[in-house]
C-alpha cells in the first residue's frame, strides 16, 4: 500500500514540473508566403543527372505533331476526345474490328493540358502515367445506360466519336450512338481502362458484365497510334463537338 502512495506522489511532482502546452485560437498566425528559389541544390541535381539522361534518351523521342493546344475540361474536352478516339480505334483493331465506342475515365488523364507542337513519348507518359490496360465490356443497352448514368454523375468523361448524350438531373439522357438511340436488348461492346472495368472510380456496375482483357497498355496503344499517323503524314488534332452537354446548372 505504501509503495503505491509513493509512486503516486512522484508522478504528481513530475507532472507539475513538466511543461504543459496547449494551443489557443488567438495565438494562431497565418501568412501565405511566396518565396522564390533561384538555384536548385547542386548535389541533388548531380544525383538526378544520370537518371535524367537515360530517361531523356527514351522520352525525348518525337513521335508526332499536335496541331492545337489541348485542355482538360468537363463535361467534354478536346484532349478527352482525342484520347477516347485513339482508345476506340486501337481497341477496335485489337478486338478484331468489333467495338461500338470507348470511354476514358476523366481521372485517368493526369495533365491539365498539352501544348501544340511536337509530341514526345515523355508527354504521352505524363498524360497517361498509369499502367492501365484495355478491357472490352459487353453489356446490353440497359446496362450501357447505367454506365453512362455513372459518367453523367461524374459530370462527363471522355467518350469516343459517334456516341453522344446530355446530362440532366445527373443522368444521361438523349443518348445516341451514330444518331440511333440505344436499344435495351442489343449488346454493346465498349473499351475502357481495366481499372474502370474492375469497378474503379465507382464503376461497380461494370462488374456484372462480360469482360475481355486485352493485354496492351493504353499508353502504348496511344504511342502506337500517333506513330502510325505520323508515318502516314497525319498530324494530331482534336476539338470539342458537343459529345456531352451538361444541362444541369451547378
Amino acid at each position: 500500500m505504501k509503495k503505491y502512495i509513493l509512486i503516486l506522489v512522484v508522478l504528481l511532482i513530475v507532472g507539475a514540473c513538466r511543461s504543459t502546452l496547449y494551443l489557443s485560437e488567438t495565438e494562431l498566425r497565418y501568412e501565405r508566403v511566396s518565396e522564390q528559389v533561384k538555384n536548385g541544390d547542386e548535389d541533388i541535381d548531380m544525383m538526378i543527372a544520370p537518371y535524367r539522361d537515360s530517361l531523356a534518351a527514351v522520352m525525348d523521342e518525337v513521335i508526332g505533331n499536335l496541331e492545337v493546344s489541348l485542355t482538360k475540361e468537363s463535361p467534354e474536352s478536346n484532349i478527352g476526345n482525342w484520347l477516347a478516339d485513339m482508345l476506340y480505334e486501337e481497341s477496335k483493331q485489337l478486338n478484331d474490328g468489333v467495338l461500338d465506342f470507348a470511354v476514358q475515365n476523366q481521372g485517368g488523364i493526369r495533365v491539365t493540358g498539352m501544348s501544340e507542337g511536337p509530341i514526345t513519348i515523355g508527354e504521352v507518359y505524363e498524360v497517361m502515367p498509369f499502367d492501365n490496360m484495355i478491357s472490352i465490356i459487353s453489356a446490353d443497352g440497359k446496362g450501357t445506360k447505367e454506365f453512362l448514368d455513372h459518367i453523367a454523375r461524374g459530370r462527363g468523361w471522355p467518350i469516343s466519336k459517334g456516341l453522344s448524350f446530355k446530362i440532366k438531373d445527373k443522368k444521361a439522357v438523349e443518348i445516341t450512338l451514330h444518331n440511333e438511340p440505344l436499344e435495351d436488348r442489343r449488346i454493346y461492346h465498349f473499351a475502357v481502362p481495366d481499372y474502370i472495368a474492375g469497378g474503379g472510380s465507382g464503376s461497380d456496375m461494370l462488374n456484372s458484365f462480360k469482360r475481355k482483357d486485352i493485354e496492351v497498355l493504353i499508353r502504348d496503344a496511344f504511342i502506337n497510334h500517333i506513330k502510325k499517323d505520323t508515318k502516314s503524314g497525319i498530324n494530331q488534332t482534336a476539338k470539342k463537338e458537343g459529345r456531352i452537354i451538361n444541362l444541369d446548372h451547378e
Binding site: L23, R29, K38, G40, Y125
Partner: protein, 309 residues
Amino acid sequence: MNRRKFIKSTAYTAALGYLNTLPLSALPARNELFHLTILHTNDVHSRIDPFPMDGSRNEGQGGVAKRKTLIDQIRREGQSTLLLDAGDIFQGTPYFNLYGGELEMKLMTELGYDIATMGNHDFDAGIDGFANQLKYADFPIVVSNYNLKNTILNGKTIDHKVWSFGDIKIGLYGLGIELEGLVPKQLYKETQYLDPVKVAQKYERMLKEELDCDYVICLSHLGYRYRNETVSDVIIAQNTESTDLIIGGHTHTFMKEPHVEKNQKGQPVVINQAGWAGILLGRIDLYFEKGSRKMAQIGGTLSVKNPMG
C-alpha cells in the same frame, strides 16, 4: 475575429520577428521559447524535375533540387525542424515508370525527410513494388490504419512515432485512404483498411496519455474534405480531442492559409496541405513556451518555382 484578421495582415517576415509586432500578451521573451518548424509536402507524384517550360499552367514550378535549397535555407534559421510527406510519392512522371520509385526514395532521403505516409498511388507498382523501394528510404513509413500483417510490408512500416526535443515531445500517427474502389485489389493485396476515425482516437490517446506527448500530429492521405460523408481531414479533426495538427494530402488542395476546425472539446485543430507536385512546401511554425501553457503557431505554404520562368 478582429484579432484574427489583424494577425493575418501581418507580413510573414514581420511575423518571424514576432517579438516586435505581436501583442505583448501573446508570447513570452525569446529565451523561454522552443521553436519547431514543421515542413511538409504531399502528392509529389514523382515530380523530380520542375514542370517543363512549355506554356502549361505549372511550368517551371516544383523540382526536388530547388526544394532542397529552400529547406536548407529554412534549416539555417537554426530552429528544430521536422520534414514530413503525406503520401503519393509515386506516379506521375516517367521517372516512376522507368525506375519504379527508386530515385524518389533516394532524393527524399537526401532531403532529410523524417517520415512519410502511404498514398493510394504508392501501391501503383503493387505493394511489392513499394516494398522493393524501401531499401532506398532512410526514413520510416508510418501508417496506423492499414493492417499489413498478411502482406510483404509486415514489420516494414511503423504505426506511430515520437520525437523528443529536450523536454518537448511530438507524437505522430498516419492515416491512409480506403483502397477498395480506388486501387485494384491485385495491387494492394491483403492490406486491410481500418476505420480512420477509430484509429485516430486510439492513437491520439496513446500518444497524449501513455507516451506523454505535448503535441500530436496526424499525417494523413484521406483528403481535405468532401461534399459527402467520406472520411476526410476535417472529419478526423471534428472527431478527435488530442490531435493538434493534420498534415494532409490526396485532394491536391492549395490552401490560402491553414484551415482551423474545432475538435470534440471545442479546441482548434489546424489542417494544412501543400497542393501537389512539390509546387509548394508547407510550413507550420510552433513556439512552445517552456514551463507554461502557451504555444503559438504560424503556418502557410511557400512556393517552389523558377523565377526565370
